[in-house]
């Protein structure tokens, strides 16, 4: 095994991939981005709406199609 170098010159020049615009930023202009963000989190709302909608639909399906036909207990 070779010993690790005492000093690595590349560290100072290193740019993380996470900081590269092509990886993290919109390709559009700043104004375009501003317009998108200003419109509000529609995508998040749609995703959360679909997820909660599916959950409630499955709950209702069990309640109406399984629980109620099986008759009341106490």
């Amino acid at each position: 095994m070779s010993a690790a170098p005492a000093h690595d010159d590349r560290v100072a020049e290193h740019v993380s991939a996470a900081a590269r615009p092509e990886n993290v930023a919109s390709f559009g202009s700043r104004d375009e981005l501003q317009r998108i963000v200003a419109a509000g989190p529609h995508g998040a709302l749609a995703l959360a709406g679909v997820a909660v909608g599916m959950l409630v639909a499955i709950w209702l399906a069990f309640f109406l199609l399984v629980f109620l036909p099986r008759g009341p207990v106490a």
Binding site: L33, A38, A39, G40, P41, A44, V52, V73
Partner: protein, 187 residues
């Protein structure tokens, strides 16, 4: 240098979050309303009988002596079924009940916690030593249901199950009416 991100409209995000919280509150209120409706209008409640019993003397005296186990018709027309859940069987192992009749199951355990569940129905409760579990149910259709223990109770747990036979009320009266404590063990 990466492009500087645009400043979001925080007021718009606040509006969205407030509206979403109303939606979630509405969903929770709707589910609660359905549960309350089923509980009040339909008289469906989780079995929550709290009644203590001396588990160490279950077979010796009182309600759960051997001769008292099985189905007994009550003067009001309902049926009462007394069952002992023990490692690793239900006594009696075959329970017969009349259809379209109010049935009260009373179950006790002399040893450990067992589960009481009738497959295909909402009958489902735990049987805890020291307490009598009570479940009220009504079977609309004649048929046969498996009744497994669904609470792990030891090495023989998977072999602990019984069956519930629902028969027409007239047939029940004809075949089992003469027995003070009916069961279908020998059938």
């Amino acid at each position: 240098m990466p492009d500087v991100a645009a400043v979001p409209d925080f007021a718009a995000i606040d509006r969205f979050e407030r509206r979403w919280s109303y939606v979630v509150a509405g969903v929770v209120a709707f589910l609660f309303a359905l549960i309350i409706f089923a509980g009040v209008h339909w008289a469906a409640q989780p079995p929550s009988n709290v009644e203590t019993i001396d588990s160490s003397r279950l077979y010796l005296a009182g309600e759960f002596v051997d001769a008292n186990l099985g189905t007994a018709m009550q003067p009001g027309g309902s049926a009462i079924v007394r069952i002992v859940a023990q490692q690793y069987s239900f006594v009696p192992p075959c329970i017969v009940v009349p259809a379209r009749t109010q049935v009260v199951f009373r179950v006790a355990s002399p040893d450990v916690v067992h589960g009481f569940l009738i497959v295909g129905t909402n009958v489902n409760t735990m049987v805890v030593p020291g307490f009598v579990s009570e479940v009220r149910a009504r079977f609309e259709e004649p048929g046969e249901h498996a009744m497994p223990c669904h609470e792990y109770c030891g090495v023989g747990h998977e072999a602990m199950w019984a069956r519930v036979k629902v028969v027409d009320a007239a047939e029940f009266a004809r075949v089992y009416g003469g027995q003070p404590r009916a069961s279908c063990v020998r059938q």
